[in-house]
C-alpha cells in the first residue's frame, strides 16, 4: 500500500471519527466538533479533505462513516497512540493521564517501523527474564535514589531463582497455539503453522489459508463435521481431519 502523508490535524480528526464510529456506527459533524473542541465550520473543511483522500464517506447533512482505507489509517493512528501510551506507562512509569496527552503529540511524528520496534521492546521488557516487572520497578527506584552495589547482586540472584522456578512450572515464552478444529465457532484465529502435506497443503494455500491469514470459524455442521470458516471474505467448509493439522493463535475481539 502506498504510504499516505496526512497532516497532524487530519490524523486527529480520523482518530476522533474512529472512536465515535466504533460506538455509534456513524458520526455526526456536531459530535466531532464537540470532541475536538473546535467550531463546526472547521470540521466541515477537514471532512472534505478526508473525503477527497477517500478516507471517509461524507456528504453534507449526511452521517459520516469511514471507508475501508480510512478504517485502516485510523486503526494505524490509534494503534500508534496505544503503543506509545503503553510505553510511557509500562516502561517509563509515567502516570496515565499525562501519558495519554503526550502520546497524542508523539503519535504523529513516529513512523510505523518505530512503533513496531516499540511494541517489540515492550514485549521484550515484559518477557525477558533479565528484565520483567521487577526490573521496571528497579528503574522507579533508580529514578528516586542511587542504588547500592549489593542491591544489584541480590537482584541478579533473585532473577536467576525466579527463572528456574518459572521453567519448572512450565511457563514458557511461546504463545499458546490452538488447532483449528478445536476453535469455538465465532472465534478468529491467525494461522501460524500448516502441518498438512502434499496436495491438501497446496490446496489450502491456494484457497487463501496461507500462514498469517486470519480465519473466522463460523459453525460446525449439525452432524459434527465439516466446519464452516470465513477466509478472505468468503465461506468455505473443511473437514476436521484437515483442520486438525492447522495451528494458529486465537485473536481476541
Amino acid at each position: 500500500m502506498s504510504e499516505m502523508v496526512l497532516s497532524k490535524s487530519l490524523e486527529d480528526y480520523l482518530e476522533v471519527i474512529y472512536h465515535i464510529v466504533v460506538v455509534e456506527q456513524a458520526a455526526k459533524a456536531k459530535d466531532i466538533a464537540q470532541k475536538m473542541q473546535v467550531k463546526a465550520s472547521s470540521v466541515t473543511g477537514a471532512l472534505r479533505q478526508l473525503a477527497e483522500r477517500d478516507l471517509v464517506n461524507y456528504s453534507p447533512y449526511d452521517q459520516i462513516t469511514l471507508t475501508r482505507k480510512g478504517m485502516e489509517v485510523a486503526q494505524d493512528v490509534v494503534r500508534r497512540h496505544e503503543v506509545l501510551k503503553d510505553f510511557l506507562i509500562k516502561v517509563l512509569s509515567i502516570d496515565e493521564s499525562e501519558a495519554d496527552s503526550v502520546a497524542c503529540q508523539m503519535e504523529h511524528a513516529v513512523t510505523t517501523e518505530i512503533i513496531d520496534r516499540f511494541t517489540k521492546f515492550i514485549e521484550f521488557v515484559e518477557r525477558c527474564p533479565r528484565a520483567g516487572d521487577s526490573w521496571i520497578k528497579g528503574f522507579d527506584y533508580y529514578c528516586g535514589e542511587k542504588p547500592q552495589a549489593d542491591y544489584c547482586r541480590k537482584c541478579i540472584t533473585q532473577t536467576v531463582e525466579n527463572f528456574e522456578t518459572n521453567l519448572k512450572s512450565g511457563d514458557e515464552m511461546n504463545e499458546s497455539t490452538v488447532r483449528l478444529n478445536q476453535v469455538k465457532p465465532g472465534s478468529r484465529v491467525k494461522i501460524t503453522t500448516n502441518k498438512l502435506s502434499g496436495v491438501t497443503a497446496r490446496r489450502f494455500q491456494e484457497m487463501g489459508l496461507t500462514i498469517g491469514s486470519i480465519v473466522k470459524v463460523e459453525r460446525v455442521a449439525p452432524l459434527g463435521d465439516p466446519v464452516e470458516i470465513i477466509v478472505k471474505g468468503y465461506n468455505l467448509s473443511l473437514r476436521k481431519e484437515d483442520l486438525d493439522k492447522i495451528e494458529g493463535i486465537l485473536l481476541e475481539d
Binding site: 482505507k69 500462514i211 455442521a221 465439516p226 464452516e228 471474505g233 465461506n235 473443511l238 473437514r239
Partner: protein
C-alpha cells in the same frame, strides 16, 4: 480464426457469461478420456471462437478439471483469455488471475457479479485495478446481460495488441532472479516462447512439466535454485509462491477496493443461522430432499404416462395400416422396435427435466452446498462426498436421472464412485418384480419386511462397494474436501431453464441415441430367428379349426388367446433371446434359475420391468403385469421361496438396464466405466446369489 478461452473459478458466472457472449451458437463436447466437458461457441457478431474451460481455483494440475484447463491453454495456445471473476469474492478469484498472467497469454479481466460487490458495500476502482495489474478490466452483471458489449469491445482491442509476456512481477526479487536464470537456459532449448512459465513450473515442481523437459542439467539447476530459495525464506517453495501471490493480491485489494463499513449481518449468514442450525438443519434438509424427490417422480409420473400413452397410440396407429393379425416384420420393427425404443428414450425425459429443474434451483440458490455441508459427515463415512446424497436419493426413483445428477460433484473420483454404485439403490422399475414375486411366495405378514430387506441389501452393498473402490481402484487419488458455501441468491428463471434444457438436450443427443440403438438390438434378439413358415401355418390352421368349430363365441375367444400365448411362448423360445436363456442355463442353475428366468433376465436389460412381461410370455400367460395371478400361480408351481428370493436379489444387484449403462457411458465419457459397471454388478450379483442359494439349500430351505 482467433481463439479465446474463458477461465474462472467455479460459480463465478462463467456459464452465464459464455451464453451472453455467444448467444445460442454453442456446442458441448468432451475432451477424450475425461469426464470434463468443454463448451465451444462463437462470440456474437465476430468470428472469434470461444472455448469454455472448466471452473477451477488454480492452474496446478491436481484435479482433472485443472489438468484439462491447463493443457488446453498450454497445448492449444489460445490468443486471449477472458478471466471471469466474482467481484464479491475478489481476493480468492484474483489468485487464478495471477496464475493466468504468469502463463503469458494476454488476459482480459471480467469483473462479473458487480451487483453483489456493490451490495457488499464495495466500490472497486476498475481504472486503478487495470493500471495496477496491467490488464484491461471490464465490469459485467451476467444474469442481467449488462456489460457484454463492452466486454466484446475490449476483447477486440486486446486481441489487436496482444503480446505474450509471462508476468511474474508479483513475486519477490529472489524468485524472479531464479526465474531469470532458468528462463535463459530453457529458451535455448525450447522455442515456444513460454520459457518463463516453464521455469516457474519447474520451480513449483510440477510433475507434468518436469516430464516434458528432457534436459537433466536444467532440472538440476532448478533443484538447486529451489533449495536456495527454501533455505533463504525458510519455507517450502510452494508455500512461498502461494504466499507471495496472496501478498500481492492483498495490496491490490487495499488499493483498489474501498468499502463502506457495514454493521449489518449479511442476509446469507442470517439464513444460514436457521438452515444450518444444529437442530433445525437436518429437518429442513429432509424436507427439501422430500420435495426434490416428489417433484421429480410424483409430478413426473403423469407426464411419463402421457409419453407412454402417446407412443402406444402412435404404435396402434401404425399397426392399423396392416390387416389385423398380420405378422409383418416391418410392422413389428416399426411398432415394437423403433416406436417402442423412442418411447423408451423419451419416457425418462420428464424425470430428467424435473430433476434438473430442482437441481438448478438448489445449485443456483446456493442450497446445494448447504445440503452437502449437512450430509458430508455421513457420506464421508461411506467414502463419498456430501453432494453424493442427491444422486443416491434419486437412484431410488430411477438410475438414469440419478447418474446425470452426479454432475453436481466436482471431482472425478467422487463422481465416478457415485455413478457406479447408484444402480444399487433399488429403482422404481424393479418394484414390479418384487410386487409380482413377494405375494406369490411369502405370507402376507412378511411382505413389508421382505421389501425392506431388499432395499436395505441394496444400500449396504452400495456402501461396501463404494468403500472398496476407494481403497482399490481409486486409491491414491486423494482430493481434499474443500467446498465453498456461496452466498444465497434468488435463482433466475432464465438461468434455471437454460440449465434444465441443457441437460435434457444432452440426454437426448448423447444417451438417447444409444438407448434407441440398444432397444432395437434387443427387439431383434427377441424376434429373430422367427418361427419357421410351417410352424406359423400350423398355428394358423389350428386357429382356423377353432373359428370353424361349433363352440360358443366366448369359448372360442378363450381358446384363441391360449393359442396366441402358446405361439408367443414358442417364438420367444425359438428367438435369440430364448436361445440365450437356454444357453446360459448351466451358468444360472447354481442360482436356482432355469432358462425361462434367464430369458426374462435378458429382457430385463431393456428395462427392469420388462422382466415381468417376458416372464409372462415364456409362461404363456400372455400380457402379464405385476398383479397377474395366473403368472403367480405358474411361478408357485415351478419355484420355491428361496429361488424367488434369489430372483429378487439378482434383479436388485445385477446389470442395470441398458439406459443406465448408456447414461454411464455418456457421463463418464468412456465405455470402460460403463462396462465396468455392467460386468462388475453382474458378477457381484452372481456370486452373492449363488452363495445365498447354495447356502440356503444346504441349510435345507
Amino acid at each position: 480464426m482467433k481463439m479465446i478461452a474463458l477461465a474462472g473459478n467455479p460459480n463465478a458466472g462463467k456459464t452465464t457469461v459464455f451464453n451472453g457472449l455467444t448467444g445460442t451458437r454453442q456446442h458441448v463436447g468432451n475432451y477424450p478420456g475425461v469426464t470434463v466437458e468443454i463448451k465451444k461457441g462463437v462470440i456474437k457478431k465476430t468470428d472469434f471462437a470461444l472455448v469454455d474451460l472448466p471452473g477451477i481455483y488454480s492452474l496446478t494440475p491436481y484435479s482433472e478439471e485443472e489438468r484439462v484447463a491447463r493443457n488446453m491453454l498450454w497445448k492449444e495456445n489460445p490468443d486471449l483469455i477472458v478471466n471471469v471473476v466474482d467481484s464479491s469474492n475478489l481476493e480468492r478469484n484474483l489468485y487464478l488471475t495471477l496464475q493466468l498472467m504468469e502463463f503469458g497469454i494476454p488476459v482480459v479481466l471480467n469483473l462479473n457479479m458487480q451487483d453483489l460487490a456493490l451490495a457488499k458495500g464495495w466500490k472497486i476502482d476498475t481504472k486503478k485495478l487495470s493500471q495496477t495489474m496491467g490488464l484491461p478490466v471490464v465490469e459485467t452483471v451476467g444474469h442481467k446481460n449488462k456489460g457484454f458489449d463492452e466486454l466484446i469491445k475490449s476483447v477486440k482491442v486486446a486481441l489487436g495488441a496482444s503480446q505474450r509476456v509471462s508476468q511474474t512481477a508479483h513475486f519477490s526479487d529472489s524468485v524472479n532472479r531464479a526465474l531469470d536464470i532458468l528462463e535463459k537456459k530453457l529458451s535455448k532449448e525450447n522455442a515456444s516462447g513460454a520459457s518463463r512459465w516453464l521455469a516457474l513450473k519447474l520451480l513449483e515442481g510440477d510433475p507434468d512439466i518436469e516430464q516434458e523437459i528432457a534436459n537433466a542439467e536444467i532440472k538440476q539447476t532448478a533443484r538447486e535454485l529451489v533449495n536456495d530459495l527454501e533455505r533463504e525464506h525458510n519455507k517450502e517453495i510452494e508455500t512461498l509462491l502461494a504466499e507471495q501471490r496472496y501478498k500481492y493480491i492483498e495490496g491490490v485489494f487495499l488499493q483498489c477496493v474501498s468499502s463502506k463499513l457495514s454493521f449489518k449481518k449479511p442476509l446469507s449468514s442470517k439464513i444460514d443461522a436457521i438452515v444450518l442450525n444444529k437442530y433445525a438443519g437436518i429437518p429442513i434438509f429432509l424436507i427439501m430432499m422430500y420435495l426434490v424427490f416428489q417433484l421429480t417422480f410424483t409430478v413426473g409420473e403423469p407426464m411419463m404416462g402421457w409419453v407412454e400413452s402417446a407412443f402406444a397410440w402412435l404404435g396402434d396407429l401404425i399397426a392399423s395400416f396392416w390387416p389385423e393379425g398380420s405378422e409383418s416384420l416391418l410392422k413389428s420393427l416399426l411398432v415394437d422396435g423403433i416406436i417402442g425404443g423412442v418411447g423408451g428414450v423419451l419416457v425418462f425425459l420428464p424425470n430428467i427435466l424435473l430433476l434438473f429443474l430442482a437441481i438448478s434451483i438448489l445449485e443456483d440458490s446456493g442450497y446445494m452446498a448447504r445440503a452437502a455441508f449437512i450430509m458430508d459427515r455421513l457420506m464421508n463415512k461411506i467414502g463419498l462426498h456430501g453432494k453424493s446424497f442427491i444422486p443416491m436419493l434419486i437412484g431410488f426413483g430411477c438410475s438414469v436421472p440419478a447418474i446425470m445428477a452426479t454432475r453436481t460433484l466436482d471431482n472425478r473420483r467422487d463422481r465416478l464412485v457415485t455413478m457406479l454404485v447408484v444402480p444399487l439403490m433399488s429403482c422404481g422399475a424393479r418394484l414390479p418384480i418384487y410386487t409380482l414375486i413377494i405375494p406369490a411366495f411369502f405370507p402376507s405378514k412378511w411382505h413389508a419386511p421382505m421389501l425392506w430387506l431388499i432395499y436395505i441389501i441394496g444400500i449396504l452393498l452400495a456402501i461396501i462397494s463404494a468403500k472398496l473402490m476407494r481403497v482399490t481402484i481409486f486409491k491414491g487419488e486423494t482430493v481434499p474436501f474443500m467446498m465453498e458455501l456461496p452466498p444465497y441468491h434468488f435463482p433466475s428463471l432464465k438461468g434455471t431453464l437454460i440449465h434444465m434444457w441443457d441437460r435434457g438436450k444432452l440426454y437426448l443427443q448423447k444417451a438417447g441415441t444409444l438407448i434407441l440403438g440398444l432397444s432395437i438390438l434387443l427387439w431383434a434378439l427377441s424376434t429373430f430367428p422367427m418361427l419357421s413358415k410351417e410352424r406359423i401355418e400350423e398355428y394358423d390352421a389350428q386357429r382356423e379349426t377353432i373359428v370353424q368349430s361349433e363352440l360358443a363365441d366366448s369359448l372360442q375367444a378363450i381358446q384363441l388367446s391360449a393359442l396366441d400365448n402358446l405361439q408367443a411362448e414358442e417364438s420367444v423360445e425359438y428367438s435369440a433371446a430364448g436361445r440365450l436363456g437356454k444357453f446360459i442355463e448351466p451358468v444360472i442353475v447354481p442360482m436356482g434359475f432355469d432358462w425361462r428366468i434367464g430369458t426374462s433376465l435378458v429382457g430385463a436389460f431393456a428395462a427392469k420391468e420388462v422382466f415381468v412381461s417376458t416372464l409372462g410370455v415364456v409362461y404363456s400367460v400372455g400380457d402379464a403385469d405385476e398383479e397377474s395371478e395366473s403368472l403367480r400361480s405358474k411361478l408357485k408351481k415351478n419355484y420355491d421361496p428361496l429361488i424367488a428370493f434369489c430372483i429378487m436379489l439378482f434383479s436388485l444387484i445385477s446389470a442395470p438396464c441398458m439406459a443406465t449403462i448408456a447414461v454411464t457411458k455418456r457421463e463418464s465419457n468412456s465405455w470402460k466405466w460403463a462396462m465396468f459397471q455392467l460386468i462388475g454388478l453382474t458378477l457381484l450379483a452372481y456370486f452373492i446369489t449363488v452363495a445365498v442359494y447354495q447356502i440356503g439349500r444346504l441349510a435345507g430351505l
